[in-house]
Amino acid sequence: MKVSLPLTKDTVRELKSGQIVYLTGPVLTARDAAHQRLVASIASGEELPIDLTDQTIYYVGPCPAPDDHVIGAAGPTTAARMDKLTIPLLEKGLLGMIGKGPRSTEIAEAVRKYRCVYFIACGGAGALLARNISQVETLAYADLDSEAIKRIEINNFPVIVAIDSYGDSLFA
């Protein structure tokens, strides 16, 4: 199944755990350090440097781009490390997450509650997945280098629906 990004609530409802999906459109990159900053900003009532409404976050810290490419190897990182830092972002309208591996039961429950979706991409396939990324722009926390928040364009990016908006999980 092919899906365009940004996601809509209608599209999310159609996605079922175990489906293979090819995603095309913009996603935001963020992993541990960026999540920590976003959640700290939310906790202190500051405005976020990015609008999370209907966005999808890809948990990735890419390699530097070789000369003739926009990005280096860019596979997913372990999503479970973001579990404790995810719900505040869902409250801000985040609709999709792309990572690897299982999530906590709290997150499976939150994915159901907020009617969003968690996809998994193939961990360790960074060279292959980078071929499906066409544009990269740093949006925030540039000092974090590979961990900065970037907007990237993904094209026919292969993922599996791991937790759907009904709370059904591939890992349960």
Binding site: G61, C63, G124, G126, S146
Partner: protein
């Protein structure tokens, strides 16, 4: 005494880091392809196909196969007849590690532990020195990503726990890790010694050709038992369910204290990067 320039040692390490991050060892590739052929789960096959083609893309383009190009773990075994000359070997190695990560377009993944400030050149490397007989320097290099390193565990078992206790610890570790460390895994195990000795044995075991059994028949049997039990868990490639959760279990052992049985399980993801050379 044979004189060896520390810069020659450091240069070799740089080359090993560059090749190991881009070229998967053949022994591993053969097992991954076999796992892909054998797999019946649709989703696990989808993942294994990507893993296998990713390795080809990385090799062809000299790209790192994974964005987590790891901490540089380096074993330097120095013959006692060798005199290392022309400078500080630690400085020389770290300078070449930084060069390798810069030139290879590898990610800088090393940060201070509490402040989390990135050192911006992937140093310091983790360097283990050992004195061996002879007049050669043996180098082993393994860039280690932390998706899998994070899932490693230490058990201080009772001395009476025996082989069954060891296998239970291995299987429990893999089960707790689930899909997080990028299965299919290679599971390195150190049994005996002390806390740090068991950890080093586990790490070193990952340099064996993947799937080659231990020289010790009893350990080889344990490796087989542990691997069968791990694959019965059904975690599968990337945790999506499937028949191959691990490609191999490697166990190394060492005498230990009468009061204990340390076991370290060092989890290695499918990108089991390692390379070695001799000077």
């Amino acid at each position: 005494m044979r004189k060896i320039d520390v810069h020659i040692v450091a240069d070799k390490i740089k080359q090993l880091l560059l090749t190991s991050n881009t070229d998967l060892p053949q022994d591993l590739l053969i097992l991954l392809k076999a796992a892909e052929q054998r797999e019946e789960s649709r989703l696990a096959k989808f993942m294994l196909e990507q893993i296998v083609s990713n390795a080809a893309i990385a090799k062809e383009n000299q790209w790192p196969m994974c964005q987590d190009t790891g901490m540089a773990v380096i074993f330097v075994d120095i013959g006692q007849e060798v005199h290392l000359i022309n400078g500080d070997i630690n400085q020389a190695i770290n300078a070449k590690v930084a060069e390798a990560y810069r030139e290879g377009h590898f990610r800088n993944s090393v940060a201070s532990p509490l402040e989390r400030v990135n050192t911006a050149n992937n140093t310091p490397a983790i360097i283990h020195y050992q004195i061996i007989e002879g007049d050669q320097v043996h180098l082993k290099v393994a860039p280690k990503g932390f998706g899998s390193e994070n899932m490693s565990r230490l058990y201080m078992l009772n001395p009476t726990a025996g082989a069954e206790g060891v296998v239970n610890a291995i299987v429990e570790t893999v089960k707790l890790a689930g899909g997080k460390p990028c299965p299919p895994l290679v599971v390195g195990v150190g049994v005996g010694g002390t806390v740090e000795k068991a950890a080093l044995l586990a790490k070193r075991s990952l340099f064996r050709p993947v799937g080659s059994p231990s020289d010790d028949d009893k350990l080889a049997k344990l490796e087989k038992t542990a691997l069968a039990r791990i694959n019965d868990l059904g975690i599968g490639a990337q945790g999506v369910g499937g028949i191959t959760t691990a490609l191999a279990v490697h166990i190394e052992s060492f005498p230990t204290h009468i009061a204990g049985l340390p076991v370290v399980i060092n989890i290695q993801c499918h990108a089991a990067r390692h390379a070695e050379d001799v000077i």
